[in-house]
Amino acid sequence: MTLLEMTHTEPTPRPLLASKQLTTGYGGRRPCALLRDVEVRLAPGELVAVLGPNGAGKSTLLRTLAGMQPALAGRVELLGTPLSELRPRQLARRVGVVLPERVAPGMLSAYDLIALGRTPHTGWTGRLRSRDETVIQRALQVVGIAHLADRDVTALSDGERQKVMIARALAQEPKVLILDEPTAFLDLPGRVEVMSLLKRLVRQSEAERSVLLSTHDLDLALRTVDRVWLLDRRGGFHTGSPAELLATRAFETAFESEELSRYLPRGSASDPGPRSEPVAPS
């Protein structure tokens, strides 16, 4: 079973991304903390979904981990280095981000848009060298959109455009890929395609890469990801494999809905992946 071989065994060597007593939320005159003192670990080769009801702070957590928003307290470390010590360019070579907003500037081909992902690697003029071209081509191949390269991004479907945005993030050659609601706007086949693409990205990468995403597609996420970070509205944080969290009825509690049970996949029976690793809930 190649899948088993490729799944890491515990204890994980060194997390790509980890937080130390991290408090996320919004600062300013009236600071508002959403999560307090959480310790998250994103292991190499891991696909993790951040799940939880609206307003639980999924986006805020992702943005804080991506270095796009300061932590209220504590810190985030990327390969052992605090995010605050990385220059924007260094950070962008390690973390690629796909945001929830719809972006489609005109007069830009899919190739040109993906080429923007080379921004942290190119010089001040932004000129592409042959290595940059190679990386862009590979990103097109991996995501499976080579045939769309010359199309104007405004002429693409939402699903195709989302793949272009993912390829753009891959062109940054990141260790960690962070996607906030990558399946919003998409129809069901589109959502399934994006999720299986993300699965491929962690399984097939020679370089150890991890993917962290937030989504409202509970069912799809639970069938795909290795591990879940579950948030609730009271600042609670639980982590575990989908099977473990299903068994403890953690989703019903976090989403404050008993009705949810009927909709969720039933534990490990419908949960094909090997996820027997022991979990140390933080």
């Binding site: 962008a92 500037p105 942290p120 003029t125 932004g126």
Partner: protein
């Protein structure tokens, strides 16, 4: 562009044949001695001013459209021309004895007074914008710029209300815009200002390309957004501020030319768009100025009327062809 330049040097109230223009430019003599003076002292500085100003306005308009991701943004969205108008209005409409001299001495001392007033006014507007730029979001900045424009035009209205008819006339003449009041010595200030502004604009081409995806994505791709925004604003300040100080508030060109260039080149790369906008802007400015002279007649149209007459159909055509949606849908 070269053809436009030559056409501008040849055309005017006194038509001078092209071969003579070339000969005079090369240091020789025209057929009539008076032509030398016309070409070297009047038309050449005016043509250089028009080229530089057109390039400056087009490039600053492009910068603002990309920074604000708004197709209707132009060089003056930040209140630069509003600030300059207020400065000039205060000088022209409220100063007592000096006003008549200002009127008489266009091109001399009075003109320098106008330049100083316009520079001070636009400088003040920019200082406010720069002060705000670090603290507020880009969209808020745009709204503040528009509000500042309304506030200054209200002040100008008050000044006009209490002013004499002849002074109002001279203020209105300033708002028409003109490339003709810039002398060789003034050009020594204006030209370097605009060249530095254009160079800065070129230096921000890479951040501008990343900003096409919005500030969030630009930041996630390693662009220092605050610093990039600062550079873009300084470049716009030099370009739009410089032009407004010396030529008055010249409208439309800065909004229309970037759309024209995007439409022609069908691409979004600022490493191409910036030089292309500069050249196209210069050509459009020269043509506008030539048209304003109404070749073959002694009458002169207000420059702003001409740029708007050329600019409005362009913008109208773009809107009808839905290119705005293409360029700026999110």
């Amino acid at each position: 562009m070269v053809a436009c330049l030559l056409a501008r040097l040849a055309g005017g109230p006194v038509a001078i044949p092209w071969p003579d223009v070339v000969r005079i430019l090369a240091g020789g003599e025209g057929e009539l001695p008076a032509w030398n003076g016309i070409v070297m002292q009047i038309r050449l500085p005016k043509a250089i001013t028009a080229s530089l100003a057109g390039a400056a306005l087009a490039v600053s308009g492009l910068l603002m459209q990309t920074l604000f991701r708004n197709p209707l943004a132009g060089p003056f969205v930040l209140g630069i021309s509003a600030g300059a108008s207020l400065g000039v209005a205060i000088v022209l409409l409220s100063v007592g004895a000096g006003t008549s001299q200002l009127l008489a001495g266009l091109g001399l001392v009075g003109d320098f007074g106008l330049v100083a007033a316009a520079s001070l006014g636009s400088g003040l507007a920019l200082a406010l914008v720069m002060f705000a730029a670090r603290r507020v979001s880009t969209l808020t900045l745009l709204i503040l710029g528009v509000l500042f424009g309304y506030a200054t035009s209200a002040l100008v209205t008050v000044l006009i209300h209490f002013s004499l008819a002849e002074r109002i006339q001279s203020y209105i003449a300033w708002t028409f815009g003109s490339f003709g009041n810039v002398t060789w010595s003034q050009l020594q200030i204006l030209a370097p200002t605009l060249v530095v502004g254009l160079a800065l604009a070129l230096a921000t081409a890479k951040p501008l390309n990343a900003l096409l995806l919005g500030e969030g994505y630009a930041a996630s791709m390693g662009i220092e957004v605050t610093r990039a925004r600062w550079l873009i604003l300084i470049s716009t300040a030099l370009l739009a501020g410089g032009v407004t100080a010396f030529c008055g508030p010249i409208g439309f060109l800065g909004i229309a030319v970037p759309h024209l260039v995007r439409g022609v080149f069908r691409l979004a790369d600022h490493r191409v768009l910036i030089p292309a906008s500069a050249v196209t802007g210069a050509a459009v400015a020269l043509i506008s100025d030539l048209v304003a002279q109404l070749p073959g007649s002694q009458a002169v149209l207000p420059l702003n009327a001409v740029t708007a007459l050329i600019g409005a159909p362009i913008i109208g055509a773009i809107i009808l062809r839905r290119r705005l949606d293409d360029s700026f849908s999110r």
